[in-house]
């Protein structure tokens, strides 16, 4: 795929059970380093936001704050949505969030099945065994269900990491360079899974600094630079322009 297709998705009514996220004047300081400066962003239910920017622009920091792994130095982050309004505190909003980060968040010394079982229990999922089995089949790792994650290849581990994030059927998916390390089979599965989620009304915020097929699914593009939001194609806008620039942006870096 050379040019990203620019197409307009019909403005969809967000599903009743969708979740969104609101960043209000978020700042994050690490000592003297200012990683995020005055970031305000409103992501509504059902949107698919492509978070763009060079390394060090603040994408990872923003996503980690959204996942409630970090607290902002100032400002606030709120998970919105019909189903979360009653349980707005971060404790229960966590149930609706899925996160894929730089590390796999898996226990090397446990098997694939044991890892997923653990998280199924922690998220109080019903039919845990069935869900875990289905998840492993879907990502193509059913044959290795009993093998320790330590023995998996990089691509398989990344597939597991994504499977782990999706296990509890989150309504808000936060992905930090999720395609990194995926093999061809994994990429295919990932792309079709994302599309299915997007169609189901799941809200996705995906960061990337390189060209990625899944970007075609994006309904919005936000460019971060130096900890600030530089460009935003806006809700209902056309992300194509920004995405096309991603290419030239990339080659300028090279």
């Amino acid at each position: 795929m050379d040019e990203p297709r620019s197409f307009h998705l019909p403005e969809r009514e967000p599903a009743q059970n969708s979740a969104g996220i609101v960043f209000d004047k978020v700042e994050k300081h690490f000592g003297s380093l200012v990683a995020l400066k005055n970031v305000s962003l409103e992501v509504g239910g059902g949107e698919f936001v492509a978070l763009l920017g060079a390394n060090g622009a603040g994408k990872t920091t923003l996503l980690r704050i959204a996942a409630h792994l970090m607290k902002p130095t100032s400002g606030s982050v709120t998970i919105t949505g019909a189903m979360t309004s009653r349980s707005r505190e971060s404790g229960n909003a966590k149930r609706f969030i899925g996160f894929v980060g730089h590390s796999t968040l898996l226990y090397d010394e446990l098997s694939a099945e044991e890892n997923l079982r653990l998280f199924a229990e922690l998220y109080s999922l019903e039919d845990a065994r069935e869900r875990v089995a289905n998840s492993l089949v879907a990502c193509g790792l059913a044959s290795r269900a009993g093998s320790l994650v330590r023995t998996f290849s990089r691509g398989m581990r990344q597939r597991m990491a994504i499977a782990r994030a999706l296990l509890h059927e989150p309504r808000l998916l936060l992905l930090d360079e999720p395609a990194a390390g995926l093999d061809r089979q994994g990429l295919g599965w990932f792309g079709s899974t994302l599309e299915r989620l997007r169609n189901g009304g799941c809200t996705v915020v995906m960061s990337t600094h390189a060209r990625n097929e899944s970007l075609d699914l994006a309904t919005r593009a936000v460019l971060l630079a130096g900890g600030r939001i530089e460009r935003d194609s806006g809700r209902g806008g056309d992300p194509g322009v920004l995405l096309a620039e991603l290419r030239s942006f990339q080659s300028a870096e090279a």
Binding site: F30, G31, S32, L33, A252
Partner: protein, 241 residues
């Protein structure tokens, strides 16, 4: 600035006076004679160590509550001065003990507890040395500091309880029982002097930590600005082509 100079002068004046008083004004003690005079610095140092560690406790609490860096500066200042005071106690104690009891050290309740106290806050300072991230350093040392302070009464109590079960070889004839009024006055002067000295040292150490922090911040900003300038140059050159 003026306050600091005034405090420094007060501390110096009081300490000189206290030293003179301890050596010449205070009456000679019946049994121990000259060596007993060390008591005028030994006891105030012990009390000031506690005061300093209490300051650390407050600072730790305040840091965790407000996340303002200044409480962390106060914490480390208090801890360092507290350890210094405890060191003085642990050194003057044996100096006093040797001629009086015949031994340099004995594991009686008070000495043992003071030693553990010294170890606790030395550990606090060492912990800070091994943590690099400034925010983590402040948070974790605050948590440890609170644990340490909660431990202090437990240390003293357990040592007391233990030592009364095992009677010690020498009995400390309560140094405060039946104190000559003149001795009491000299002790008070000396106590105020050491307290002033302690306050001055904490204030100065706090200021030092604050300056260090500001310096790091300035240096970081200068470095990142230099890095930005350096990165701009080749880009500007590329655009011109």
């Amino acid at each position: 600035m003026k306050g600091r100079i005034a405090l420094a002068f007060a501390a110096a004046a009081l300490m000189v006076f206290a030293g003179y008083a301890a050596l010449y004004i205070a009456p000679d003690e019946k049994t121990m004679h000259a060596i007993q005079r060390i008591f005028y610095f030994h006891v105030p140092s012990a009390i000031c160590a506690f005061v300093a560690f209490f300051v650390v406790f407050i600072a730790n609490f305040a840091y965790l509550g407000t996340r303002q860096q200044k409480w962390d500066w106060l914490g480390v200042a208090g801890a360092e001065v507290g350890v210094a005071c405890s060191t003085i106690v642990l050194i003057t104690g044996p100096i006093w003990a040797h001629p009086v009891w015949g031994v340099w050290w004995t594991w009686d309740a008070r000495l043992t507890s003071t030693f553990v106290l010294w170890l606790l806050y030395t550990a606090y300072l060492l912990l800070r040395g091994f943590l690099e991230d400034p925010q983590r350093k402040a948070t974790f040392s605050a948590v440890f500091g609170i644990f340490a302070f909660l431990d202090v009464p437990l240390v003293y109590f357990s040592n007391r309880l233990w030592r009364t079960q095992h009677p010690q070889p020498v009995i400390l004839g309560g140094s405060n029982s039946g104190l000559d009024p003149m001795m009491g006055k000299v002790l008070l002067i000396s106590f105020v002097g050491v307290l002033c000295l302690m306050a001055m040292l904490i204030a100065d150490r706090y200021r030092l930590e604050r300056l260090r922090w500001e310096y790091e911040e300035l240096r970081f900003r200068a470095e990142s600005r230099a890095a930005e300038e350096g990165a701009k140059a080749p880009r500007a050159a590329a655009e011109m082509r």
